[in-house]
């Protein structure tokens, strides 16, 4: 564990709006309470309403920082991935969420900050700078990022190509990347549905991947994207509903 740092909050002096958008946001006592409560509530909800099952929990690293990645076909995905994490990690979970969906209106942005602790990623112009900040934070502080390397929600539940952003964040760092497969989330809450349906959700957690040895440049990023995608596909297995669509890529 780190020693105490006599160092002001990284978001000191920002206005409320600036703070919701800041990638260096640090939670205060009230927000920590809200995060704890929110993830506890989500865990109960997923267990009862979606009868969620988690396989391979032992693959989760014992301590942050690490990155959880998965296929993305539903708004439930990030919620489902965060819920099984142990409660002592609940305050350092940061789902990376689409800025244009979650951070455009102040009310939704406040919710995304206060409850989900989401960090905004702007898809159209997510510059090197923003990714650099996320990378710096991941290395310096105990964080758990939840992100979807496909960069958007798949419309039919099939696995899209992985983007380079993941590689730009973790190449050369040695921060473990944990591949996950989410089954049933698309059926539970598809893109066009208004409310979630009580479908069963299964989450499979794979062995962590280490990209410390991969160079932080273009070839390295695509190598990381390929390896991460292969790991997620392998977790999907044969029984999975999406498997045929994936293997027929």
């Amino acid at each position: 564990m780190v020693d105490f740092r006599l160092e002001p909050a990284k978001d000191l002096g920002l206005t409320h709006r600036q703070r919701t958008l800041s990638l260096n946001r640090e939670a205060g006592l009230i927000e920590t309470g809200l995060h704890m409560g929110w993830w506890g509530f989500m865990r109960t909800y997923l267990r009862l309403y979606h009868r969620m099952r988690v396989e391979g929990r032992s693959h989760l690293p014992a301590k942050p920082p690490f990155v959880l990645i998965a296929n993305h076909a539903s708004h439930l995905d990030a919620l489902a991935m965060a819920a099984p994490l142990p409660w002592r990690h609940r305050d350092c979970i940061f789902p990376l969420a689409a800025g244009d969906v979650f951070f455009e209106t102040p009310v939704l942005a406040t919710f995304a900050m206060a409850c989900i602790n989401a960090l905004p990623v702007w898809r159209n112009n997510c510059g090197r700078h923003a990714l650099g900040e996320l990378r710096k934070r991941l290395v310096e502080q105990p964080c758990i990022y939840i992100l979807f390397p496909e960069g958007r929600r798949s419309e039919d539940g099939s696995l899209l190509e992985f983007k380079a952003g993941l590689g730009m964040m973790v190449a050369e760092t040695g921060v473990p990347v944990v591949p996950c497969w989410l089954g049933g989330a698309h059926e539970a809450w598809a893109r066009d549905a208004i409310v979630p349906r009580p479908r069963k959700i299964v989450m499979r957690i794979g062995e962590p991947l280490d990209f410390a040895g991969i160079r932080n440049r273009r070839e390295g990023w695509s190598k990381i994207a390929d390896r991460a995608r292969a790991a997620v596909v392998a977790l999907a297995g044969d029984q999975s509903e999406g498997a045929s669509r994936i293997t027929g890529r």
């Binding site: 105490f4 006599l6 002001p8 205060g28």
Partner: protein, 344 residues
């Protein structure tokens, strides 16, 4: 509820009974009306740079917001004073925790917040024994909770920051709220607020006019010895004059006690100011935030009060006592009575 207590806690109709309260409220309202007019006239005469003018307007605007928030609870009743100070303590602690990084220690932060709330309860209850006990008990709890993470590295820093926070915002500001248990709380609190606020102004003005060698250039380069002495003289004079009315026919109303009170307020206020400067300089932060436009953070505004409140409380307490003629243990008495029903 005892009618005496109800009158003190919620008696709005007696808000302006004391001439000092009425006078200060009228003077404050007048100042808020005249100040923008004066700035406007000066600006029209071309004596103010646009930048200075904007800065002055901003400061007046903030005072216009702050003044009702400070005087409002005092006029409404003692209950609102205690709640208001509780809110102030929590907001100040929030700023302090974010400034020093203590907010990352969630458990210790929680202990400090709970401690501040308990202090408020002890004050509301008018239970001085518990209020006094919370200081050592708070330190003990913080020291114990700090051990829970099993991380000895940085233990002293975390512990010291949390204990200081509880001492300043829990116990220190708590003494301000404890005055609310005195029958004469409105006049005493108004005197304190006016003296502390004007102490800053006096220091600024006499620093500008007298100047002289700098007071402690490494901590706060803009303060001069002239400013400090000027504030000392002017604040003491002000406290003597107002105090004569506030403490009329009471032991504190004697000139020598008022003289000592004025000196204590001015010295403690200036030390409080310097304390925050030293904290900011140590951490390397220039601005705490912009909670109050034109003033910076809340702490920048209330730093002097942190040291003044306990100093004044114990001086007044030693000379004549605080809230001695008011009923004590408002809630705990009822709890004791309820338990006596159960146990034989």
């Amino acid at each position: 509820m005892n009618p005496v207590v109800r009158e003190r806690l919620f008696g709005v109709h007696s808000a302006f009974d004391h001439p000092v309260v009425l006078g200060v409220v009228v003077a404050a309202a007048a100042a808020l009306l005249i100040a923008p007019l004066a700035v406007w006239l000066l600006a029209r005469a071309g004596r103010l740079a646009p930048e200075t003018r904007r800065e002055l307007y901003l400061r007046i605007f903030t005072w216009a917001l702050l003044m009702p928030l400070l005087l409002g609870p005092i006029l409404l009743g003692a209950a609102w004073v205690i709640l208001g100070v509780l809110a102030l303590s929590l907001l100040c602690y929030r700023e302090y925790a974010r400034l020093t990084g203590l907010f990352r220690e969630k458990m210790m932060s929680l202990v400090v917040v709970v401690g501040i709330v308990l202090v408020s309860f002890a004050i509301f209850d008018h239970w001085y024994g518990f209020f006094a006990a919370l200081a050592p008990l708070g330190v003990a709890t913080i020291a114990a909770v700090g051990l829970l993470g099993d991380r000895p590295q940085g233990y002293i820093q975390r512990l010291a920051l949390a204990v200081l926070a509880f001492a300043l915002f829990g116990i220190g500001l708590g003494h301000l709220a404890y005055f609310a248990n005195d029958t004469n709380y409105r006049a005493i609190l108004v005197l304190l607020l006016v003296a502390v606020a004007l102490n800053d102004v006096f220091a600024y003005l006499s620093g500008k006019t007298i100047g002289g060698p700098r007071l402690c250039p490494h901590t706060s380069p803009n303060k001069t010895i002239g400013g400090a002495v000027g504030a000392l003289v002017l604040t003491t004079a002000l406290v003597c004059l107002l105090g004569r009315l506030v403490f009329a026919d009471q032991p504190m109303g004697q000139w020598h006690h008022l003289l000592a009170l004025g000196l204590l307020i001015s010295v403690a206020g200036q030390f409080g100011d310097l304390m925050l400067s030293a904290v900011k300089r140590d951490i390397g932060v220039k601005d705490i935030g912009h909670t109050l436009p034109g003033h910076g953070g809340l702490l920048d505004r209330f730093d002097s009060l942190l040291l003044v409140a306990p100093t004044v409380y114990h001086y007044v307490g030693y000379i004549q006592g605080v809230g001695l003629d008011q009923p004590t243990n408002l809630f705990t008495e009822a709890a004791a009575w309820a338990t006596s029903l159960i146990s034989p």
